[in-house]
């Protein structure tokens, strides 16, 4: 009997919960959509940030099952969107790089959907928490904030690091190509000048 009751509690307290974060590549002139099936009254949060590529901007829009645009932002470097659904269906979040002809972008995406799940299925919210338990819950919430702040700093650092790496490799490339260019121009100038003063026979390459 007790087990049936706990099973009943289990079934009523199951939330389909989901959270994922990753960085994906968005090729130039491309659009990438992520879809999620959601129930009525579900709460979801979306955070995105452009880590590298071009002008560090991306178009993002979120549409619901009936193609109503819930959120639309053009050329933003980072954005955040929260919403509680009013209908059941497939919601989509699309990222577009169509305005860029040759820079592919790396975009970080953090998608959270549903309430936070219970640690143990038996931890129903029906009974009041003891002081110790509520302390644990507050510490847990604070640690989540710390973790999110770390993620924010990690993304900013990734952005700067990628730019610094590009500069580092570009400096070598530029200096080598400039050396070659210098020599070509120096020799070319001398040759051209000599050709002005050559006899009427025509420009003759004088051995140096």
């Amino acid at each position: 009997m007790q087990q049936l009751v706990s099973l009943g509690c289990l079934l009523f307290h199951v939330f389909v919960v989901f959270a994922t974060e990753f960085t994906f590549e968005l090729p130039d002139n491309d659009e990438l959509c992520f879809y999620e099936e959601m129930e009525n009254g579900d709460k979801f949060d979306l955070d995105y940030q452009v880590i590298s590529g071009g002008n560090y901007d991306v178009n993002c829009f979120v549409a619901d099952a009936n193609d109503n645009i819930l959120y639309n932002d053009e050329k933003k470097q980072y954005g955040s969107f929260s919403h509680t659904t009013t209908m059941k269906g497939v919601y989509r979040a699309c990222f577009s790089n169509k305005f860029s002809t040759f820079s592919h972008k790396y975009v970080y995406l953090d998608f959270r959907h549903g309430d936070e799940n219970l640690l143990l299925p038996s931890m129903t919210r029906a009974t009041a928490l003891t002081q110790l338990e509520s302390t644990c819950v507050s510490i847990h919430e604070i640690l989540k904030v710390v973790s999110e702040s770390q993620t924010w700093y990690r993304l900013r650092e990734a952005h700067d690091r990628i730019r610094a790496d590009h500069i580092h490799s570009n400096v070598t490339l530029w200096s080598l190509s400039e050396t070659v260019l210098l020599f070509v121009i120096a020799v070319g100038q001398v040759m051209l000048l000599k050709s002005f003063f050559s006899e009427k026979k025509g420009p003759v390459a004088v051995p140096t």
Binding site: L7, V14, T23, Y35, A164, A186, Q189, F197, V206
Partner: protein
């Protein structure tokens, strides 16, 4: 933030209870069936992938961090104009590269797969998926729907399982969760220190290169100028113009 509840963790917590008589087993089996009927595992976030397309996801993680990825594929069926719930014979090739672009996992999985790896170097790990169908005819439609769920660090922990294995009370389990969170924060901080060091080395190396290049450029310019003048002077003297 989330530890997902799915059919597996339910069955493990239920089976821990008293006794192992046949009645208990039968009751447990019925419970599992009831539970499974109400909850279907839906790794929600999905995207579409073409036939030969390779989709890569980057996870920037500290070292000794576990990553669990789960995917589910659905094939477009032209007859019913919808996605089939499951298609045997469909496979995905999963390739995971570590920050030094060394391949740490390269395996073929079925249409539903689960891959796990633990990072040994901190940095950007690349998880690449591309379809590798055993029956090419299946791909006439060309569109494949892939449900993906990637969990990192303390989100990979299955707390009901840990509670059952170590026989922890609720309070102990909460403390355990906090401990895992703090450990992950500490790993992330170490990673931050490591990143800052590398960033500083890159900047200093760039600074050195720019400095040497400026000196070299000045020297080259002076030498080239002198050579040009000398050469032209001797040329004009030979032409008896000077």
């Amino acid at each position: 933030m989330t530890s997902r509840v799915n059919g597996d963790s339910f069955s493990s917590t239920l089976v821990v209870e008293e006794g192992f008589s046949f009645k208990m087993l039968a009751a447990a089996a019925i419970r599992v069936l009831l539970v499974a009927a109400f909850i279907h595992p839906s790794y929600a976030l999905y995207f579409h992938i073409g036939e030969t397309e390779k989709k890569c996801f980057i996870e920037e993680i500290p070292d000794e961090t576990m990553v669990i990825g789960k995917y589910r594929t659905q094939l477009w069926d032209k007859q019913t104009n919808s996605y089939l719930p499951s298609t045997p014979g469909l496979g995905m090739h999963v390739e995971i590269k570590d920050p030094d672009t060394k391949v740490i996992l390269s395996r073929q999985y079925g249409s539903d797969g689960r891959f796990t790896f633990t990072s040994h170097t901190p940095g950007e790990h690349k998880i690449c998926l591309h379809s590798n169908s055993t029956k090419m005819a299946l791909f006439a439609g060309g569109k494949l729907r892939v449900h993906l769920d990637i969990q990192v660090g303390e989100h990979t922990n299955n707390y009901p399982e840990i509670a059952a294995k170590d026989k922890l009370t609720e309070l102990q389990l909460r403390a355990r969760q906090l401990l895992d969170q703090v450990e992950q924060i500490q790993k992330e901080q170490n990673y931050q220190r490591y990143r800052e060091e590398r960033f500083r080395m890159t900047s200093e190396s760039t600074n050195q290169r720019v400095l040497w290049w400026s000196i070299a450029q000045t020297v080259i310019l002076i030498v080239t100028g002198i050579w040009q003048m000398k050469h032209l002077k001797s040329f004009f003297e030979a032409k008896k113009l000077v």
